[in-house]
Amino acid sequence: MERKNQNIIKRWNPLTLLFLIILLAVFSVLYNYKVTLVIVMIMVITAMLAGEGHNFLKAWIKSIVVICAICFVLQSLFIPGQQVLWEFWVFQIKRESIGRAIILCSRILGVGSAILLGAKLIDMSSLMTVLEKKGISPSATYILLSTSNIIPQMSKKMNAIMEAQKSRGIETDSNLIVRAKAFFPAVVPLLLNSLVSAEERAITMEARAFSASCSKTKIRDVEDAKSDKIIRILLAVILLLGIGGKIWIVLK
């Protein structure tokens, strides 16, 4: 019912979105930087259609663009080559290194943007529901899903431990040796604490019949419309054609 109110992209089944993300990532790895640029454009448009354009672009510039820039500079400065294009002080920029930098950055750009788009568009818990329906074990989906929940929880715990240790007189902003000494008293309580919480979780899960072998009911159901299936088949065909095309180009 909820899904009718949503926009054109978010109405898709999460599995369909996953197919789209994989397709875009594979294409940008297989083909050269021009294709990657087109694909990144497609991603931005997709994000905008889904109403996540602003969020996506903000995160994209902060992470992927920065990483690509670092990578490009390092690669073009230090990868060895013969033909020097440009020189200043002790640095030389060579034709070969620029070529390598472009290939590498185009791949990082393509795959990185695809993953980021996936993270923005796909709702993890509904993707896991769908995957479970398709026969993936609940343990696997539990591992993936709970990781994203546990990280913020544990980060809170870590802060609490650090505050406690600071109030006992452990210094965290002095020279290297003092800072290194602060490491163990912060980490050991965190580890022991989280191991104990794992046990508590185990009891809780067991009480809810997590490892029972019978079939279970789900509180949420993710719609898998006919149009989704058709789109998925189309995407799979395009993916195969893309891989085939690449093989054909290589053989030629």
């Binding site: 990483i67 990578c71 795959v111």
Partner: protein, 210 residues
């Protein structure tokens, strides 16, 4: 009741399934703690090693892989290094099963093996995927050394030696100390637990005989 069954399927008990996400989170949190303390190490595999030592090679490998794979959502250039984390998790788990983490002497040997494998693999992966210049701070150092006239391979080996050996030793030392302090009741729940319980019993008997 000791959990004596071992193997791919028997290793994945309920408690190990529950502890994998926690280990990944531990990796992540300690990684950021190291950043806030401005220590010159990564230490992003403590959780992986802890799980690997407790629950064996398969769980260790899975945890290592997932941990870096999830991290690479923020930095996609990390993804190739998930192979290393996977292999290290496996090796550490395997060594733990062969009683390599029961005494301090064996621990040092295990540490040397782990650090060596980590060094060789990280050089190889970094060279294959990035020509040696990935996006870590090491690459900048390497670039400086190469421009200063030091040949590429010696520079790579030295840098990786400096960054991997202390890192892996501390990453193994923390789980080693934690497991020493763990209660037997808790150790029983993991497939490698019996290894540590037996070692503990043997140590106590030795003390008595003296």
């Amino acid at each position: 009741m000791l959990n004596e069954k071992r193997g791919l399927k028997a290793d994945f008990t309920l408690i190990t399934i529950l502890i994998i996400p926690i280990a990944i989170a531990v990796n992540f949190i300690i990684g950021s703690l190291v950043l806030t303390l401005k220590l010159p190490l990564y230490l992003d595999s403590i959780g992986t090693f802890l799980v690997a030592i407790l629950a064996g090679p398969w769980v260790g490998a899975l945890t290592g892989f997932l941990s870096i794979a999830i991290n690479s959502i923020a930095d996609p250039t990390l993804f190739p290094f998930s192979i290393i984390a996977c292999a290290l998790g496996f090796i550490v788990g395997f060594m733990a099963r062969r009683k390599m983490f029961t005494t301090i002497g064996r621990f040092i040997i295990a540490g040397i093996i782990t650090a060596f494998v980590a060094m060789v693999m990280s050089i190889t992966i970094s060279y294959i995927f990035y020509g040696g210049f990935d996006t870590s701070g090491n690459a900048l150092l390497l670039g400086t050394m190469v421009t200063a006239g030091i040949p590429f391979w010696p520079a790579v080996v030295v840098i990786n030696f400096i960054s991997e050996v202390p890192d892996k030793f501390i990453s193994l030392l923390v789980p080693y100390l934690v497991i020493r302090g763990m209660s037997e009741r808790y150790l029983h729940k993991f497939s490698n637990g019996s290894v540590f319980i037996d070692a503990r019993k043997a140590r106590e008997e030795k003390k008595k005989n003296k």
